[in-house]
Symmetry: C2
């Protein structure tokens, strides 16, 4: 570690970075290496301070940033924990769909199909794979309060999800990202979504019980794991009769 970043004698150091950020990188590396599992407590601030030979305040600032990025969760008096998709609070972060009126509905994922294929040009580009690399294609329906609301087509790199089959999906009662995290060790930490209005057609129209040509909200998503690595591409058709996509501009 560069412990004397301020001495400019030796190197004007284009790679300069303050102490707390170096600590952050170290913690991130431990996280990525699986030293602490999702839901687990990480060592206390003072322990980490001793381990890295810095003050508690410096460790704290590193953790502050990671908590702001939803990688860690602090609880006063208890400790700091690795964020997990099994925590229901982290759920809404990745499904911004709420009813036009009334309370939030419990959601059910209905797997329809899950197979293997070779990446076409578009999927390869989105996932940073070579064209022809093995991928998994999954289709599923999302029901909210008994109503079919979202039809998803999901593309995953085959390498990371070796034994993922339709059966595995049907067995699981967790959310997809919870499953990915607990069974395959792939943690989604960030996503980009692109929204358009399109006309319903084919399977989507049928499964969502809407007329051909009626408007649907198309949500395309790329989800990233540690190191900004894309590991999921998804195309979702949302029927927005009774639900809408909620977003806060802050």
């Amino acid at each position: 570690m560069n412990r004397s970043p301020h001495s400019r004698a030796a190197a004007p150091s284009p790679t300069f970075s303050p102490l707390y950020r170096q600590i952050k990188d170290l913690i991130l590396k431990s996280l990525e290496a699986g030293e602490w599992q999702p839901g687990d407590a990480i060592p206390s601030e003072s322990e980490l301070a001793v381990r890295f030979n810095v003050s508690q305040g410096t460790v704290r600032k590193a953790i502050d940033e990671m908590a702001a990025e939803n990688l860690l969760v602090r609880r006063q008096g208890k400790g700091t924990f690795v964020a997990t998709h099994s925590d229901p609070r982290s759920f809404f972060r990745f499904l911004r769909l709420i009813p036009n009126e009334g309370e939030l509905q419990p959601s059910t994922s209905v797997p329809i199909e899950c197979g293997r294929a070779k990446a076409g040009a578009d999927v390869a580009r989105m996932l940073g794979l070579a064209p022809g690399a093995p991928i998994i294609i999954m289709r599923r329906l999302l029901e909210l309060g008994g109503e079919a609301v979202v039809f998803d087509e999901i593309y995953l790199p085959g390498e990371l999800f070796q034994d993922l089959t339709l059966d595995v999906l049907k067995q699981s009662d967790k959310s997809l990202y919870d499953l990915f995290e607990s069974r395959y060790g792939v943690r989604m930490i960030r996503a980009e979504e692109r929204l358009r209005a399109v006309a319903a057609e084919g399977v989507a129209a049928e499964l969502l019980h809407v007329d051909e040509g009626s408007p649907l909200l198309l949500v395309e998503r790329v989800a990233f794991t540690y190191g900004n690595k894309p590991v999921e591409w998804r195309r979702g058709f949302y029927a927005t009769r009774n639900f809408h996509y909620f977003n806060e501009l802050a």
Copy 2:
């Protein structure tokens, strides 16, 4: 100010709040009162520390939070500045529309109509007004790279925007929120958006040059100023042939 929040002798204080948050509230009050204008520098951290009789670090933590909320902007070596909508960087925050391919386009606002009316039940509810209170209704088209992409219907409380007319809008070359801020002293700091897909009809279809019944993205927005006070309700129809709504889930 409650300078000894930790002494529990006097009051178990259900309204306890740490020092830095009390400072934050004070700075916020100054901001709200217009003591410093958008774009201006606020006093330095050490000046504020003297003024409030606390340490620089405590002022700093207060400002940190406000910078995270986009109320203030820090610049090392220069000072801390009141955020402003005239800063182009703050622009994308409130218009999340980007081209499917190619660079970001410069946008032009084309005012169509601007009149006064009395608030109906729905607008009154959204803006926290009494039904029948005076409001302003404005319609406009947003063009990106020469193409008509968004048709907006905007509802404002009449009281806050006294002399706002179609002419004023036509005269201005600023963004709407920049105009609101500089001319009426109303600063938008946060907004909630609800998105749906709908079928194009009437004026919207016509102005956006799309067929009746073709899909449009409907974006309903409530925008808030200081103290979480709603001061704008807006219904926007987005034609998403060549553009899409971009959102980051972080």
